[in-house]
């Protein structure tokens, strides 16, 4: 394995680790807000590492730009959604 | 490798068949309109997955099914949107509007 491939492997491993960590948080944390907190942080990191690995793999500027855009969009969407869902969760929820 | 690729099409085609069965169950057993609409869409995507899976070969998915599936997805969305609007209107406004209808204008 070349150093480049090793690096990609490591990045992928980190990415999967953070995704898994987010999931564990989602299952284990006791209340909605701490779950929300754990999940968005971990996921964005996970996606970041994966995007990095893919970018290194391709080594193409246009694709790297697209990957960066994807990550930024996901980051942005996750952050906003987490904020709004957290607010929404504060409201009392009538039963269906 | 070829067998594996052929296998992929089969895996998704059979998943499509299972989705059709699941959706059928939901469509028949459930009463809530929204859930029946979801079931309708599950059957629809099952049919499409079956279409794609059976059209899969080493060269990818046959483009004709791909085009038909895109058409089908859009048609299903149109139907779902109207059905949902109709169900909500029935729930909110009742079976028919009395008095506001322009029935007085003619037969």
């Amino acid at each position: 394995m070349s150093p480049g491939e090793l690096l990609i492997t490591a990045l992928l491993a980190l990415g999967v680790f953070f995704y898994a960590a987010g999931t564990v948080g989602l299952i284990r944390f006791p209340d909605t807000h701490s779950r929300l907190h754990a999940l968005t942080k971990a996921d964005n990191l996970g996606l970041g590492f994966i995007v990095l690995a893919a970018g290194l793999h391709w080594g193409d500027a246009w694709i790297a730009g697209k990957l960066a855009l994807i990550w930024l969009l996901a980051l942005f969407a996750a952050g906003m959604a987490a904020q709004l869902v957290a607010r929404a969760a504060l409201k009392p929820e009538p039963r269906e | 490798m070829t067998e594996l690729l052929a296998e992929r099409g089969h895996v998704f085609a059979l998943t499509g068949a299972a989705l059709i069965a699941l959706g059928f169950y939901g469509f028949m057993a459930q009463r809530a309109v929204i859930r029946r609409l979801i079931s309708f869409n599950v059957i629809g995507s099952g049919v499409f997955l079956l279409f794609g899976g059976t059209g899969y070969s080493a060269a990818g998915v046959d483009p004709v099914p791909q085009a038909l599936i895109i058409t089908g997805i859009v048609v299903a969305l149109a139907l779902t949107a109207f059905a949902a609007a109709l169900a909500v209107r029935l729930a909110q406004g009742g079976d028919r509007d009395d008095g506001t209808d322009d029935g007085e204008a003619g037969p």
Binding site: - | H10, F12, G23, A29, I38, Q66, I70, L77, A81, A87
Partner: protein, 309 residues
């Protein structure tokens, strides 16, 4: 490895679908359907059908979710959220038997299928005549343009159908509630930041669609989603359904498409393109369709007119 991934993905798809159709909680069902849409888009990626994956990502994972949440909200307002009791057991039993029979029948049919090559080769041989690099676009707007024409008119008819549900006293008015948001809040900034990007992605998809995966339907759906986002975040209100410019936008794409088809009929070949100009004609139709599809889908999701101001 790919096979393991495919099998796991299919297991997830089936799980999400089962929870969506049979779950006790209606909102949970809606959520599982959204999840299911994402997974189905991934299934199309795994099959290498990127055009379909794009459509499914935009429609199944995006627009349909908003539509269903809106319907759920409408039912809640009407106090008509059906109770979450499981259906009585005889109903479940018969439905399960019927489902098993249907599934068994379909699986039998799949197993009995003879191998046939489909039309992949034929499309590849003929798409040169249309000067298009994307075979799916060649089928959609060339070989089977008639299907696509009818489909765009299904959308127009569906919009008329949704509008026909408007209460008479608010006819000509605006669909949906008047959305508001805190001007400096997260929601408003969401509505300001995402649309330019979405617009870019939509235009890119229709531009790329001639030669790469993409096209009018995917692009139109993304643009519709962008508009819905703007409305939801309270930045702009929906147009009145009686607005003439709006109606013009809605019919423009289908009218251009149908006009081209009828012009071809007068010239001797209905839905045929003049030799050498096929690509240009198809691109014009695609751009016109994108705009109309975006407007039509956005209004389909918004529903019938609900208020006068």
């Amino acid at each position: 490895m790919s096979l393991a991934f495919d099998l796991a993905l299919c297991a997830f798809i089936l799980g999400a679908a089962a929870l969506a159709v049979a779950g006790r909680n209606l909102f949970g069902s809606v959520v599982f359907y959204i999840v299911y849409g994402v997974l189905i888009a991934l299934a199309w990626l795994s099959l290498g059908a990127v055009d379909v994956a794009l459509a499914e990502a935009a429609i199944g994972a995006g627009v349909t979710g908003v539509l269903l949440i809106g319907a759920w909200q409408g039912m809640k307002e009407a106090g008509a959220l059906e109770d979450s009791q499981a259906p009585p057991w005889p109903v479940r039993l018969w439905a399960a038997l019927g489902a098993a029979l249907t599934g068994g029948l379909v699986i039998t049919a799949i197993i009995a299928l003879p191998g046939q090559d489909g039309l992949t080769r034929t499309v590849a041989d003929e798409q040169g005549a249309l000067a298009l690099g994307n075979p799916v676009t060649a089928v959609l707007l060339g070989f089977r343009a008639y299907d696509t024409l009818l489909e765009t008119l299904v959308l127009s008819a569906a919009l008329a159908a949704v509008w026909s549900l408007s209460p008479e006293r608010v006819w000509g008015g605006i669909p949906g509630p008047k959305h508001v948001s805190r001007p400096d809040g997260v929601m408003a900034s969401f509505g300001r930041l995402l649309p330019p990007l979405g617009l870019l992605v939509g235009v890119y998809l229709v531009w790329a669609g001639a030669d790469q995966p993409g096209g009018a339907f995917q692009a139109g759906t993304v643009l519709a989603a962008v508009w819905i986002l703007i409305v939801l975040s309270g930045l702009r209100d929906e147009p009145r359904v009686s607005s003439l410019p709006l109606r013009a936008v809605i019919i423009a794409g289908p009218a251009v498409f149908l006009g081209a088809g009828l012009a071809g009929a007068l010239a001797g070949q209905a839905l045929g393109y003049p030799p050498g100009y096929a690509r240009t004609a198809i691109l014009i139709i695609e751009y016109a369709l994108t705009v109309s599809i975006a407007a039509t889908l956005a209004l389909l999701i918004a529903g019938p007119a609900r208020r006068l101001s």
